[in-house]
Amino acid sequence: MTLISNDSAWITIQETPLSLEEVSEFLRVEEAGAVDIFLGTTRRWTEVEEKETDRKTGRPETVLLEYECYKPMALKEMHRFVNEAFSRWPVCRACLLHRIGEVPLREISVIAGVAAPHRADAFAACRYLIDTLKTRAPIWKKEHFVDGDSRWVEGDSAPEHLSSPDTM
């Protein structure tokens, strides 16, 4: 695997807040006319809660998410996703940033961003980055509820489809 280590890719995992301004500054280059940026944020009710609404008496509110990762492998995977995006679409710049540790309500846990000459490619590559990150990167989130309870969010990945990098 060739890691993109030049100026056109930016990949990081950090415990501190992610800066959208820095992402915008990185992505806006003269060669690109279209920039798509996806932000994942901590929401008060999660998907798991929604699914379970009908069989619970109440919906405990989430007050923060806590992320844990297998950092060296997660970074390696994130580089792989970005490399793949560059090979599939005409992309000028791409970034994939994840925050770990505690992420309070409304704050940003992940940013996927792509700059391309045209918008169809920017949208497609950005979507690809966040979709692959969510199914493949060894990162986990734990919900902390307002009542003090907590639980690991059940991932929805399908191991049989993803056991090898070649089956992506």
Binding site: Y70, T135, W140, D156, S163
Partner: protein
């Protein structure tokens, strides 16, 4: 000591399976020259930490930071990680 290290496999656990096992890493010893499948290695681990057994069907295995099938042969010096369904993003 040096020989012993060469015969060992480092195993890493994260998130829910880490909490169930009560450890975030452990070392498994191989006999000299032995190689075992990733699947068999999981079985050995579950013998020591039975609380993780219910999760094994969902676990993906990574060896040296790459996903591998369960038939993949693990060797001394490898870093093995147990990856429960991920939920990043």
């Amino acid at each position: 000591m040096g020989d012993k290290k060469l015969q060992s496999v480092q195993v890493l656990l994260f998130s829910v399976i880490r909490e169930q096992a009560g450890i975030d890493s452990t070392t498994l010893q191989l006999d000299p020259g032995e190689a075992v499948s990733a699947g068999l290695l999981l079985e050995r681990l579950a013998a020591t930490y039975p609380a993780i057994r219910p999760m094994l069907p969902l676990v993906r295995i990574a060896v040296n930071r790459e996903y591998v099938p369960r038939e993949h042969m693990v060797q001394a010096g490898d870093e093995v990680a147990l990856i429960t369904p991920v939920s990043g993003g």
